[in-house]
Amino acid sequence: MTPTYYLLLSALLFSLGAVGVLVRRNAIVVFMCVELMLNAVNLSLVTFARINGGLDGQVMAFFVMVVAAAEVVVGLTIIMAIFKTRRSASVDDSNLLKY
């Protein structure tokens, strides 16, 4: 099994996440798509670590997980605050700031 397939899978997952951020309308789902992108990066990091024969990539994946967890805390707080106000988590409703 060549590691290249994992890189392709990772690129696919990353693209799916990016497309999801652009087309989905619920802030929570948008945020989940960002998390999917981060996890796609983790897969890349681990695969590259395997290809390069080092451990750096695996260690970096742990860093990314910790950062992603911190981001969840902050992100859900912000989304929850605006949900309490608007009773909706749709990113289309946040349209007061424009032009």
């Binding site: 992108m37 890349s44 990091l45 080092g54 981001e71 992100g75 707080t77 912000i78 605006i82 007061l96």
Partner: protein, 535 residues
Amino acid sequence: MTTFLSQNVERLQAPEIDYGAVAPLLIVLGAACLSVLFEAFLPKVQRWAAQVVLTLLTLAAAGAGLVVYASGEGTPEQGKLTLAGTIAVDRPVIFLWGTLLLLGLGAVLLIADRSVEPGGAFVADASILPGQGSQVYKGSGSTMVQTRAHATRFGMQTEVFPLTLFALGGMMVFVAANDLLTMFIALEVLSLPLYLMCGLARRRRLLSQEAAVKYFLLGAFASAFFLYGVALLYGYAGSVKLADIANATTATDRSDTLLYAGFGLLVVGLLFKASVGPFHAWTPDVYQGSPTPVTAFMAACTKVAAFGGILRVLYGAFERSSWEWNGVLWGVAIASMVIGAVLGLTQTDVKRMIAYSSVAHAGFLLIGAISLNDQGLSGTMFYLMAYGFTTIAAFGIVSLVRNGDGEATHLSQWAGLAKRSPVVAGVFTFLLLALAGLPLTSGFVGKFVVFAAAVEAGMVPLVVIALVASAVAAFFYLRVIVLMYFSEPAPDGPTVSVPGAFTTVAITLGAAITLVLGVYPSFALDWAGAGTFIF
């Protein structure tokens, strides 16, 4: 795999730490942790005073640590790498740290101010909703107003101080990070507090929360791009150290696809933070919706940090492959200047106008950054310093012009301001002229050194476009000046608050440095050009 692991474990050595060099970092981040403990254990009435004292002391101590290190006997002239080569403390980093600490001081003074808005510009509790509790709030729609009694009784959310310190610490690591992983962690440490701070405005809660959501979602999206770029560059070079990537680009047997894709994604993440060109979409919304002191902090300090990071990455890792990417960043710089200058013309809100002006300035800064010569490095850093102080003072002034609903940011409300308050209008005029880049202001010197470096690097067409863009941008600054001086004030127009000591000091600091850097720039230029990056 197990033998592989155990061999590595035996070779692991604890890295050398030069505590003197990283003292400013440790002080800022340590004080941020202490500040969190203050939030947890001090009674609510004491918190504001304790936090302000702690934050100001921290900035002073970090500044003192920086001065002692920079002027110390044993300090290597070119700087040194510490913490296993992940942090570089060289001359540009010392300059940027000093700039960040001074700009942070200005921003903290604006954040701490309670005289302009009773109780401070921040909500008493971040969970307060717009319209919650009708006896506490009056007004309707998105411009809820807390009563004065409530504001003075409950004060403000003092958690904004630890958040500021964490963000500042992240920015300082970001400009000094010598490998891409450290840079990513620093990026998040500086961004996450800023997302939260955006949502803390006392007035116009809904706009503030909306700004926080937009900044967070787009910021997280951009940092995912940054991170994928890091991963691809790791795959390309087998390491995330800037020097290793630079070495890898000279070898010919590696996949260029990984290099270009990685570089592109990495730079998108960085340009997003610096609010450059086509990646600026969040900037006007977030600048407008955030509490004005936070906008000042973001506009000044984030710009310095992001461009510090861009400079380090371009010089450290990609200088030798510059032929491949130079054209793309030319396009980005042009797009940024044109977008900022043209869309700035159509703005009717003063905060949004300054936001578009910051997009145009980001284009000018990028010209300096892609010059890739010593003048470009020192010129860009000087420009960052000049722009940061001007913009802090400008947002300080914006926070003073108020009506019953809070800040009166619509430009029509600024008509005839010079008749109401000649001093405020005069200072704002000076700052706008500095943003436009007129002589005797720091903006002129900044543009001059950056454009001179670009001409030196053979980018004459880019400089011509930049000059046209700054002429267009000058129009919307002058429009505000004309509005303030030659229009009749509206009868129900805004009043100009008399600022308390904190805001006065912040505005004076910003305006004074704008003037000093315009009249006598040579000391700062020498300081900025004292050395180059080490990797």
